[in-house]
């Protein structure tokens, strides 16, 4: 293959957002809390002011806090809204939900949502989960109440990103055979958990199904239109290598239709294909590659730079308990009026600050950062 063909997927954040993200797009942002958040694409969405987004996330919040603060989220499907780093509940999101600017929110737990991304990634119609039962996560179904579940008269799903049911609870057809701890032929299980109430005969549960059996909550696949993830390196062909904790990113990156990968550095395919077992995402899954060093700032990218705790502290000071207009003004000044991420990084953050975050090879973070003073 000629090198020119290889460059087809490489584009600027501006091009990627223009091409793939429209008002109403169902979109999932990778990373977890303060780790490897795809801020370059997210900031470009703020610059372009793309509204009415249907955002889906398993424990993100920094990206989503910015988008909510800029007034761009209409629907949110989530598990957790804590902006780690001094703000227990992400303020702009909370404000948007309470006031109604975010019109719909659907809640899952970390595990059931992760199983949804896994079903999406594996191309399977559902995955089982042993949590969420007995809780109000099962009882409250926002999308159903909003009339968004099910099919239209023409046989299409009402919304291609919203499954016809939030959960389906069934009795395990294998009668609890797979539950651990288990009793094996040669003795007790080796795992550390000791309770398995079904085995102990404590359960005769007829809830949900009306019949006695081992209750399992099936969850539907998550299938967003666009998934965005940040990696350390992406090869020109699209091969992705993530270093450090993966969190939701393998499953959530592969469950959707379009995958945009932003990275610290684009490299020749040979560099990553020399040790292919360390790569996570195969080239053909990737539709757009956006290179932006330091683009995950203020979140952390292991082996490259640490998160900037001072940014979070300042943010909390600036926006917490402020009216909506103040929050919006913060994001307009901080992000919207910048030309692109280089402009943002040079002029809003500063090269000196960025270099102070560079990581230590032993720790994969910067052990000398003074985060709390």
């Amino acid at each position: 293959m000629a090198n020119d063909n290889l460059k087809n997927k490489v584009m600027t954040a501006k091009e990627a957002v223009e091409r793939f993200i429209k008002p109403g797009t169902h979109i999932a942002f990778g990373g977890f809390t303060i780790l490897r958040r795809p801020m370059t694409i997210a900031r470009e969405i703020v610059r372009q002011g793309i509204k009415d987004l249907f955002v889906t996330m398993n424990g993100g919040t920094l990206v989503e806090e910015m988008l909510a603060g800029a007034g761009l989220i209409k629907w949110l499907e989530t598990t957790y809204l804590g902006l780690e780093g001094g703000m227990p509940v992400a303020y702009a999101i909370r404000q948007a939900i309470e006031s109604g600017e975010i019109e719909l929110i659907e809640d899952y737990s970390n595990w059931s949502f992760a199983q949804r991304t896994l079903a999406g990634r594996l191309g399977l119609p559902f995955m089982p989960c042993l949590g969420d039962i007995g809780s109000d996560l099962i009882e409250y179904d926002t999308f159903k109440k909003g009339g968004l579940r099910g099919k239209r008269e023409d046989g299409e799903f009402i919304h291609p990103g919203i499954p016809p049911k939030k959960y389906e609870i069934i009795d395990d057809p294998f009668e609890g055979f797979g539950l651990r701890p288990k009793r094996f032929k040669n003795g007790e299980d080796s795992c550390v958990n000791k309770t398995n109430a079904y085995r102990d005969g404590k359960i005769k549960s007829t809830k949900y199904t009306g019949k006695e059996g081992v209750k399992v909550a099936l969850v539907p696949p998550l299938m967003p239109e666009v998934c965005v993830v940040r990696a350390q390196r992406v090869a020109l062909d699209g091969t992705v290598r993530i270093e450090g904790l993966i969190g939701p990113d393998l499953d959530q990156s592969l469950c959707g239709r379009i995958l945009i990968v932003e990275c610290e550095r684009i490299c020749p395919p040979e560099e990553l294909r020399a040790v292919p077992e360390h790569n996570q995402i195969a080239a053909h899954f990737v539709h757009a590659i956006v290179e932006q060093p330091f683009g995950a700032y203020p979140s952390a990218v292991p082996n490259y730079y640490d998160y900037d705790y001072s940014w979070f502290r300042n943010y909390v000071k600036e926006v917490n308990h402020q009216p909506k207009e103040k929050v919006r003004e913060f994001w307009e000044k901080h992000v919207k009026e910048t030309k692109d991420d280089w402009d943002y990084l040079y002029n809003k953050v500063g090269i000196k600050k960025l270099f102070s975050l560079r990581t230590d090879p032993k720790y994969h973070y910067n052990p000398n950062l003074d985060r709390f003073n």
Binding site: I105, Q115, D189, T195, Y208, I246, Y365
Partner: protein, 291 residues
């Protein structure tokens, strides 16, 4: 685990920080009270903040064989610098493996490696059900009848529900205020206790593990009565009046079985200060309780 703390250095530290060997702060007391509930050999799903401090203290004292797991996929780290989030790279240092959320809850927790979970919440009702989702209705504006969303929107489950569904034992950490300890939670995010005004248990809903709960507040510890499932006052901190605890509880709290907790030992305090949080990032915080 042998603790290599130089006594002279510790004394200098105490002087510098204005602390005393035998005297403790509220946060130190809470960390010790929580740590003592953590069994050795446990596979513990802990969040950051006080739960992690308590877990690190337990590892340095009575639970050297406890494995810490963070829900984003980190297994068995040897933490040197206090992380601010479960996905903080500081929480990954010297971990056995780093994996994914599917692994944390599947490969570990569901597979049988989640014996202990430490959770916080905005509300904990008399059956040990936790609410960390919303106060004053749940429905967002698009489907509510009020023209707006809930009065207060909170973080949502995160890993809390998943951990409480799969762990043998749950430690719930609460600020002991009447409004936070009601008869019934406004939204049931996490069934952490045995549950049930009609005698139904968590098992009746199909949850196959758990039921062992201790609620650690800034005044006391409460546990569910094995018969009724209702929380009773189990241990009170030194110097706290049981009647005061009862008055600050939103349901009728049985205080008849209450014992007084052994105060933090000089050794526990020394380890907490020198090994766990020397910069007093969390230990230096003020209690959340509003008098």
């Amino acid at each position: 685990m042998p603790v290599d703390i130089n006594i002279k250095e510790y004394e200098e530290y105490l002087n510098k920080m204005g602390l005393e060997k035998e005297k403790y702060t509220y946060m130190e007391l809470l960390a010790v009270a929580t740590a003592r509930e953590m069994p050795d050999e446990a596979f513990a799903f802990v969040g950051t903040g006080l739960p992690l401090l308590a877990a690190m203290l337990a590892q340095h004292t009575h639970a050297p064989n406890m494995t810490i797991i963070l829900e984003a996929g980190t297994v068995g780290p040897k933490i040197e610098h206090i992380p601010v989030s479960v996905a903080d790279p500081r929480a990954c240092y010297q971990a056995s493996t780093l994996s994914t959320l599917v692994d944390a809850f599947g490969t570990l927790a569901a597979r049988g490696y989640c014996t202990l979970g430490v959770l916080g919440a905005a509300e904990c009702d008399k059956y040990g059900n936790l609410n960390s989702t919303a106060i004053g209705s749940y429905w967002p504006k698009g489907v509510s009848e009020t023209g707006k969303g809930p009065d207060v929107r909170l973080t949502g489950s995160g890993g809390a529900n998943s951990i409480a569904s799969l762990a043998d034992k749950i430690i719930a950490m609460m600020v002991h205020e009447k409004r936070r300890l009601p008869e019934k939670v406004q939204y049931l995010t996490t069934p952490a206790g045995l549950r049930g005004p009609k005698g139904e248990t968590r098992y009746d809903y199909g949850l196959f593990r758990g039921g062992d709960l201790v609620v650690v507040t800034d005044l006391c510890k409460m546990k569910p009565d094995p018969e009724t499932g209702i929380l009773y006052l189990y241990e009170i901190y030194p110097g706290v009046d049981p009647e005061y605890v009862r008055q600050n509880t939103g349901f009728d709290l049985d205080i008849s079985r209450c014992k007084v907790m052994e105060p933090p030992t000089a050794e526990e305090l020394m380890i907490l200060r020198m090994k766990v949080d020397p910069d007093r990032i969390y230990l230096g915080r003020k209690p959340k309780r509003k008098e």
